[in-house]
């Protein structure tokens, strides 16, 4: 099939990855990157907002052709849909209230690299000691949820939220002690929580989060996947991704390997 046009979906409420402006247009890192990618792939793209919950089934049902919503490339998802090469790879980290006793837990400011299923990481074991009996909030059905269950499920209470934003509110309310999520997402969230929240413990990076964030496409559309992968490759090569990343995240999220 010859792709000259495609529909890309994103949530439109996951700042700064993607968000909605007051005039109804979509803005943020991903919409701007999408524009670049589509130009390079010579595809006329339409962006539509849709709900996170139903995105993958809706993609397979044919409602749109591409998902671009900070979607981590994971083995489970690969069973259902196809991914382009990643356009971002972000670290993840814990957040807590600034005045919490859990602030500045062991390893704060450090970077730990992990692979899937890896155990016996000393920094993580230290955190397990510190977080014993606490409540950790995560967004349901994310790679981060799996990580928390695997490593902290036995020592801490875990509470699942439908959205990260809900979790952040409860972190401020004090219903939960810790949150765990994408670090660049948190960076933005801290600002709007009037800087009452802060990172604690090390940033966790590496293949444990899969290959990074990629565009999701149907398995039946390899031509589309390849066209978009080419475009991502070129945008990474000439620094466009880095430029947009610095603009929106203040750090470079381009995948390093």
């Amino acid at each position: 099939k010859d792709w000259t046009s495609a529909t890309i979906t994103l949530e439109g409420a996951y700042a700064p990855w993607n968000m909605t402006n007051a005039d109804g247009t979509l803005g943020g890192f991903e919409p701007e990157l999408a524009k670049v990618l589509c130009e390079r792939a010579k595809i006329e793209c339409t962006l539509v907002a849709s709900d996170w919950d139903g995105m993958i089934p809706a993609l397979n049902a044919g409602k749109f052709d591409v998902i671009m919503d900070a979607l981590s490339i994971t083995e489970e998802r690969k069973q259902i849909i196809d991914f382009t090469i990643p356009y971002a790879a972000t670290p993840a980290a814990f957040a807590t209230a600034k005045d919490s006793p859990l602030a500045n837990a062991a390893g704060t400011g450090a970077i730990v690299k992990m692979t899937p299923g890896q155990t016996g990481v000393s920094e993580i074991d230290a955190l397990k000691e510190a977080f014993k009996g606490k409540t950790i909030g995560i967004q349901a059905a994310t790679v981060y949820a799996k990580f928390i269950y695997d490593n902290f499920g036995s020592i801490a209470e875990i509470r699942e939220y439908k959205t990260g934003a809900d979790r952040d509110l409860d972190l401020q309310n004090g219903r939960i002690d810790l949150g765990f999520d994408d670090a660049v997402y948190f960076n933005n969230a801290f600002a709007s929580a009037n800087d009452t929240l802060a990172f604690t413990g090390p940033e966790i990076v590496g293949p444990i989060w899969g290959a990074g964030e990629g565009l999701g496409v149907r398995k039946a559309d390899p031509e589309l996947r390849d066209k978009l992968s080419e475009a991502i490759k070129s945008a990474l090569a000439d620094g466009t991704v880095k430029e947009l990343s610095m603009k929106w995240f203040k750090v470079d999220v381009s995948p390093q390997e």
Partner: protein, 241 residues
Amino acid sequence: MATLELLGFGSTGWGALLLVATLMTLAVTATALAIGAVFGAIVASAKLSGNLILVTLGNIYTTVFRGVPELLIIYLIYFGGSSAITSIGNWMGYEGFLGLPSFASGALAVGIISGAYQAEVYRGAYLAIAKGELEAASAIGMSRAMRVRRIIMPQVLRFAIPGLGNVWQLSLKDSALISVTGLAELMRTSQVAAGSTRQYFLFFIVGGLLYLILTSLSDRIFNRAERRANRSMPASAMGQA
């Protein structure tokens, strides 16, 4: 950012979007009510037909669509509807995917649910018609079709208005659940505005107020319709609306 500015109509205000979303909620609810009227009328006639199979089918319809959470039904229709249409399309030789647009699938889902409630309303209204009036129509030689058109329909509509008012309110609130399809109606727009500005409470309260306005406006319209339809009722019944 000042609250007023956030809710205003300027380039940084969400006023225009919220207004459009409110109208979208109205439009999708009205469409759903119309779809539900068709389903409701069919199901009510089935339940009144006296035919065992039709009655059972009608009962299954009303039981299932009133007994399963709206959210589940919306999901099932949003996804199931698209796959069904796609496979029909493929079968007819169309290559690729066919999707039901969010508006259509949302309105269809809420309409099907609304149809289950409307069926009960219409059935009750039909049973409220005095049997003697139907006999009187037969006695002057009206055919079956004419009886339906001239005597039954007007009276069913008249008796159904209060019940339809309730169904409308139910559907109005069910339409908030269509937000899971991404349709930019009032609930979804409130959520998006909240997520994008991180002013959660502001936008949820404003969203709630807009629903309250819709509710009270439509209440008023239904009350007026009821008064109009009740012109022919005894004076004593009018007070009790």
